[in-house]
């Protein structure tokens, strides 16, 4: 329970920073931080495999991707961002606070659900592997296809139109 108490505020702070920070790169890095803390949270909750996967995928790949695209587009309009903030914040809050209210209301129902002290429960690789590849085999294949399609699609999107990948030695 203690690690939870430590981690939760950290994650929320990092998330708030990611949302609030004016400078985009800072926001992205703070996102990476939140994702890392999230992974640690999973490790704390003894979902080891998922924690490491989370760490590897999100911090290793997604954060880098986001940061990379920030590098490419180099948004420089922090000033304008700050100028416009109060108005957009108000509208943003107006829409998200009710959602929060609803969720908190639902969470309040779970006030005393679940065990107070968790029993030792962990998932081993074998269990995960077997369930993954037996009950969810089609899903895994579908995700495989999806990922390949995404890879090809992203490659196509990101390619400069019309320019074949020229390599000097081809001259």
């Amino acid at each position: 329970m203690i690690p939870l108490l430590i981690l939760t505020p950290l994650i929320l702070l990092a998330a708030l920073g990611a949302v609030w920070k004016a400078r985009p790169v800072h926001a992205a890095l703070l996102l990476a931080l939140t994702l890392a803390l999230n992974a640690i949270l999973y490790l704390v909750l003894s979902a080891d495999f998922i924690g490491l996967i989370q760490f590897m995928v999100y911090v290793g790949a997604v954060a880098v991707l986001i940061v990379f695209s920030l590098l490419i587009t180099r948004p420089g309009d922090e000033a304008e961002e700050i100028a416009r903030r109060p108005r957009s914040l108000v509208t943003g809050l107006a829409c998200s606070l009710p959602v929060l209210a609803v969720m908190l209301f639902i969470v309040s129902r779970f006030e005393n659900a679940g065990q107070a002290v968790a029993d030792a429960r962990s998932v081993s690789i074998e269990q995960l592997g077997t369930t993954l590849f037996t009950t969810h085999a089609p899903a895994v294949m579908a995700v495989g296809v999806l990922l390949t399609a995404v890879m090809i699609g992203a490659a196509l999107f990101a390619r400069e139109p019309g320019k074949k990948t020229q390599t000097p030695s081809d001259s």
Partner: protein
């Protein structure tokens, strides 16, 4: 305040922050940041319920999280590719400028 309730509040707060980011951010990439936050909030829920909820031999929680991570990664990749393409086309990632599909 059981750990599960703690986790749920954490995830709802995180979801709301993500939603706020999506609604207020002007830069498309930072909207993606918001979306990642929302997805992670969901994952926290799953793991929370798996960990502190009734024992679940079928491991639906972790399964779901695994798939959601894979798909989130795919989504981020495609999203960024599109944003880059739009950027190359319109030289800006400001969402308010990309409103040509208006009514």
């Amino acid at each position: 305040m059981t750990p599960l309730a703690m986790l749920l509040t954490l995830s709802s707060l995180m979801f709301t922050l993500g939603l706020l980011a999506v609604l207020t951010r002007r830069n498309a990439i930072l909207v993606l940041v918001g979306i990642e936050l929302m997805l992670n909030a969901a994952n926290i829920n799953f793991i929370g319920f798996w960990r502190y909820g009734p024992s679940d031999p079928a491991l639906t929680g972790p399964m779901f999280v695994l798939f959601s991570i894979a798909i989130a990664a795919a989504e981020a990749a495609v999203g960024l590719a599109i944003i880059l393409m739009v950027f190359r086309h319109t030289r800006s990632t400001d969402l308010n400028k990309l409103d040509s599909l208006h009514g």
